[in-house]
Amino acid sequence: MKDGADHSTPRVLVIDDDEALLRMLRLSLASEGFQVATAEGGASGLEKLRFDEFDVIVLDLQMPGMDGRSFHREMVARGYNTQIVILSAYGAEKARQELGVAAAIAKPFDPDVLIETVRDVATASD
């Protein structure tokens, strides 16, 4: 949580190449009071990081172009240390261990579980 931010409205960046999934995630998280931004790939996710600060990034792994792992590598290289929740259909937990990030959720998932996880991670990073 960044200085001056409202603790009740953590800012979340969701990066996934699937538009419909992004819409669902945006609605689910927003309905719980999160401020949500979305990006349809790693490259546009990095662009969002340039202009906004986030408490948590929800990150898909398999994406055309810059995938989740490449995004993470690039993000770290650029000095960002935003908490990450991996959201992937395959190998989510393995990737969490490899990348040493906060949490992992396997697709498909219950949106409430994602909401709780994002909230926990945002709180822990305060």
Partner: protein, 530 residues
């Protein structure tokens, strides 16, 4: 050794005087020459007695004059001095088992030709039927003037020796049969690490003939280099040090070098050869592990492919499910709180993702069906309405995309299976859509190709294909580097198209147009009007 006599068969070997009596008798019976050979040459007779091997003498006519106990034992009978001629044996045979008349025996040849005979084996049969292989050494006896006065013959029983040699030969043949035919390479090395033996399998594995490798240092010949090209000194070689320390090595994976310098993987065991308590060398068995390594690599690749494939399929199947489940739960739990537009979008996404999932599952199931060789029942069908149906269905999903259907001339009736062709058309249109800019049109041309086929061409104005990829794009789960960076997918659609079209007697090909964009053309058989 006693001198035997015909008239005293029970005489013991220690009795000397009865033997002399016998000799006297024999001498009396055989006249002057016998007298000269037997009685008047006591030193010679003593020699016969003392020989310890079977020996006998004859006069110049071949009549036996003197024989010793060993000869009697060998023959199994006591010949009658002065009567038995040439040899005291009951029967004689050549080594091949054919009978040998006594007057053709080596002793007879010596006497008839007045010369010693050597290296002629005979088979002696005793009256009880027992046979012995014998090597005779007949030599003429001459008087001071050089005249032939008789002959002496020493008979060496070589039966045991021959049996031992035959056994050794049989053992050697057995060992050779084993080592020649085994697929494992065998190398015997001495304590200096020099090659003493190689079997044919070892020759095949190492690429060296034994003649070329014999006596050469195994390490410097076969094992002098690491796989990466660095020299591999003998002092670091576990096989060599094991040889020094009489250690066994089991299941060592190693890399050897062929005569042409190429490397190969081997799996080897090393065991010391111990002779009389001392290390005499080592036996090294080798298996060419190149194929095993290849198999391991293929398995590794296949596991990696499986991992990649599972990742892709999981992603493609689980992402729509995640959207469906997520939207359903969202509507269920928070539906009332959603704005009307959001609710509408959520329902639309639910429906669209369900259809998308259905298409993926249909593709996978159809691929599975045609992959196990199931033929699709083709029927006469009209392509124009079928294509219109596919386009309509696609445009409900993607209304912005411009798609035109362009029949060229009269479109004949085609032979095909409507349901699977709808999936093929949807795959080809989706593919064209996925890899084209949003404003680029998609054209579907239908035309007769001669009098045999009907062709359907789906043309896009998108990113195109490399010409060398036009075959590979139909391989299941193949995705070109360009496609991977451009759009998601699992490389399933085109593979399904190919299998499905071929399963109904048609064919499909891709064409990368030089000016850009692709044509995917499938052809089906025409139905001929009767």
């Amino acid at each position: 050794m006693a001198i035997a006599r015909r008239t005293d068969k029970t005489a013991g070997p220690t009795s000397v005087s009865p033997k002399r009596d016998a000799l006297r008798q024999a001498t009396a019976q055989n006249g002057e020459i016998a007298e000269a050979l037997g009685a008047s040459h006591p030193q010679y007779r003593s020699l016969i007695e003392a020989l310890g091997v079977a020996a006998y003498t004859t006069d110049a006519t071949g009549r036996i004059t003197v024989y010793n106990e060993a000869a009697a034992a060998l023959w199994g009978r006591r010949p009658e001095p002065g009567n038995d001629q040439w040899c005291g044996s009951w029967r004689l045979y050549r080594p091949d088992g054919t009978p040998m008349p006594h007057d053709e025996c080596p002793m007879a040849v010596t006497l008839k030709e007045n010369r010693p005979v050597r290296d002629v084996e005979i088979l002696v049969e005793r009256p009880d039927g027992a046979r012995s292989f014998v090597l005779p050494f007949p030599a003429p006896l001459r008087d001071a003037s050089g005249a032939l006065i008789g002959a002496v013959n020493v008979l060496i029983d070589i039966t045991e020796r021959k049996r031992a040699v035959a056994e050794a030969d049989a053992q050697r043949e057995l060992v050779n049969a084993i080592t020649d035919n085994m697929s494992v390479g065998l190398l015997l090395i001495d304590t200096d690490g020099r090659i003493q033996f190689m079997n044919p399998a070892a020759e095949k594995i190492t690429g060296y003939q034994f003649e070329d490798a014999q006596g050469k240092a195994k390490h410097e010949l076969l094992h002098y280099r690491h796989p990466d090209g660095r020299p591999f000194p003998r002092s670091e070689c576990p096989i060599e040090t094991a040889n020094d320390r009489s250690q066994r090595i089991i299941g060592q994976e190693d890399v050897f070098v062929r005569p042409d310098g190429t490397s190969y993987n081997v799996l080897c065991n090393v065991a010391p050869i111990v002779r009389e308590g001392a290390i005499a060398g080592a036996i090294l068995d080798l298996r060419d592990a190149t194929e095993e390594k290849k198999t391991e690599e293929a398995i590794r690749q296949s596991m990696a492919f499986k991992d990649q494939f599972m990742g892709l399929v999981s992603h493609e199947l689980r992402t729509p499910i995640a959207t469906i489940v997520g939207n359903a739960l969202l509507l269920l739990r928070r539906g009332e709180a959603l704005a009307a537009d959001d609710k509408q979008q959520s329902l639309l996404d639910l429906a669209d993702e369900s259809k998308k999932l259905q298409r993926i599952i249909e593709n996978l199931l159809l691929l599975a069906r045609v992959d196990v060789g199931e033929q699709l029942d083709a029927e006469p069908l009209l392509l124009r309405p079928l294509i219109a149906q596919a386009v309509d269905s696609f445009q409900r999903r993607e209304p912005q995309r411009s798609i035109s259907v362009m029949p060229e001339g009269e479109v004949p009736i085609a032979l095909g299976q409507a349901e699977s062709l709808l999936l093929v058309l949807d795959n080809l249109i989706s593919n064209a859509h996925k890899y084209s800019p949003p404003d680029a049109p998609i054209e579907i041309r239908i035309r007769a190709n001669g009098s045999e086929d009907v062709e359907v061409c789906v043309r896009d104005y998108g990113m195109g294909l490399d010409q060398d990829e036009t075959e590979a794009v139909f391989t299941p789960f193949y995705r070109s580097a360009k496609a991977k960076t451009h759009a998601k997918g699992i490389g399933l659609g085109l593979a399904v198209c190919k299998r499905v079209i071929e399963a109904q007697g048609g064919s499909i090909r891709a064409w990368a147009r030089p000016e850009g964009g692709c044509d995917f053309v499938f052809s089906l058989q025409q139905v001929r009007e009767s």
